[in-house]
Symmetry: C2
């Protein structure tokens, strides 16, 4: 297992310089993150931050009437628990494991120690937070203007970016609750995408056949978010000189 799971499968951990990473490495704890697990309820305080490697966590808001909406997703590109270092300790959204897998967790206090050194790790985490903010912003715009079919395409692509394969294990019911639409709406949209030869699916599994085609089918939101993540973070992999933008 120690061969299969490595901290640097998480891009943020991988982007940390050796000195900083070494300080944290001994305290990183590999944990299973089974699907459906609620890591943090609305308003709840996390005891750890989570760096997913193969798992994907969905940040959702659940409304008073029970309807839910995904705000953003967190996979191997990021970290769950930004409210700890942002100073609020809690958020009104909940964190639900959407795709089961693993991740590394770190005691909140240890992350805070590192963050408060005000060095590379702080800058890295703040950049990630800005990227997350862009993701949430685009979710807002997308929810306003785009069709279920476009949103499903976007969601499939961004989920796929966090997985090693082209297949995701996920019922339409679950996808519907992520997107905040009816299950039937997902059935219909998925049917169209399958007819177009972009995906194929069977009970609980979706395989993306044509990523480029799906991209063309999705709204611009996917590309905007991806570009912004790349700009802010992707080049961090194997590049440990995160610039300090101090004037």
């Amino acid at each position: 297992m120690s061969d299969l799971h490595r901290p640097d499968q998480n891009h943020l951990l991988a982007a940390m310089p050796a000195a900083e990473f070494d300080r944290l490495a001994a305290h990183l704890e590999l944990v299973a993150m089974p699907v459906g697990n609620v890591l943090c309820e609305s308003g709840g305080k996390l005891q750890h931050v989570y760096f997913p490697t193969t798992a994907i966590v969905s940040l959702q808001y659940v409304m008073e009437n029970g309807a839910s909406a995904e705000i953003a997703g967190v996979g191997n590109e990021g970290v769950l628990g930004i409210s700890l270092f942002m100073g609020g300790e809690t958020t009104p959204s909940r964190a639900l494991v959407q795709t089961g897998g693993h991740g590394y967790r770190l005691k909140a206090s240890l992350l805070m120690q590192e963050f408060n050194r005000a060095g590379v790790v702080q800058r890295l985490l703040l950049r990630y937070t800005q990227a997350l903010l862009t993701q949430i912003s685009m979710t807002a715009a997308c929810n306003r203007h785009h069709s279920v079919e476009q949103q499903l395409s976007r969601w499939l692509l961004s989920t796929l970016d966090r997985l090693p394969t082209n297949e995701l294990t996920m019922t339409q019911e679950l996808i519907a609750s992520m997107l905040g639409v009816r299950r039937e709406g997902v059935t219909e949209a998925a049917g169209k995408l399958q007819q177009a030869g972009l995906i194929s699916y069977r009970r609980g599994h979706i395989t993306v056949l044509d990523r480029f085609g799906l991209n063309a089918h999705a709204c611009e939101c996917y590309a905007v978010v991806k570009k912004e993540f790349d700009r802010l973070l992707c080049d961090l992999r194997n590049r440990h000189d995160i610039p300090n933008v101090a004037g």
Copy 2:
């Protein structure tokens, strides 16, 4: 004018301890922020951060087809330009002055110097950023699930919170572009609110008559955001000991 305009009309500036504030005060520049002014285009880099006092800035995303959606608003409770200290320098959203007024601006480099001291001001700005993040998150959820009438109520209330009066100068057309809906939809929703005795309006002006009633008419999103802002920031006014949440 120097009597009418004071930096502490902005809550973030007011929340800074004397030592920190004094370092910045000499560099704060009072500027007029006329309605319609675009302070920052999508992807553009700000040379200053803006602390509005009487103005309100709308953060929007404009889609490829020209449709727009408000992501969040920034008034006297906050600051425009978080991407500077978050490390990304730019964001995909644009900043448009929605309500004309004034604000204080500060050279980006000077804010960065203060931010990089990793002291009270940094913690204050990060807490504000988290509050903004909550606002954006709720915009996303609200866009998904709530009616135009509910959203208009929410928007009126949150705009009013940033103004000294109960009247806002704003055409329905402009409100429509903020909410990302048709102008006719705003006309219809505003008509209902007026019939219910909650607001009254005439060509370009809206007066809120019954704030409590409007609150009851709005979706939960308004209250969630307000509560979170209060929790994270409101008690900062006249309270300069922002706790360091280091573990």
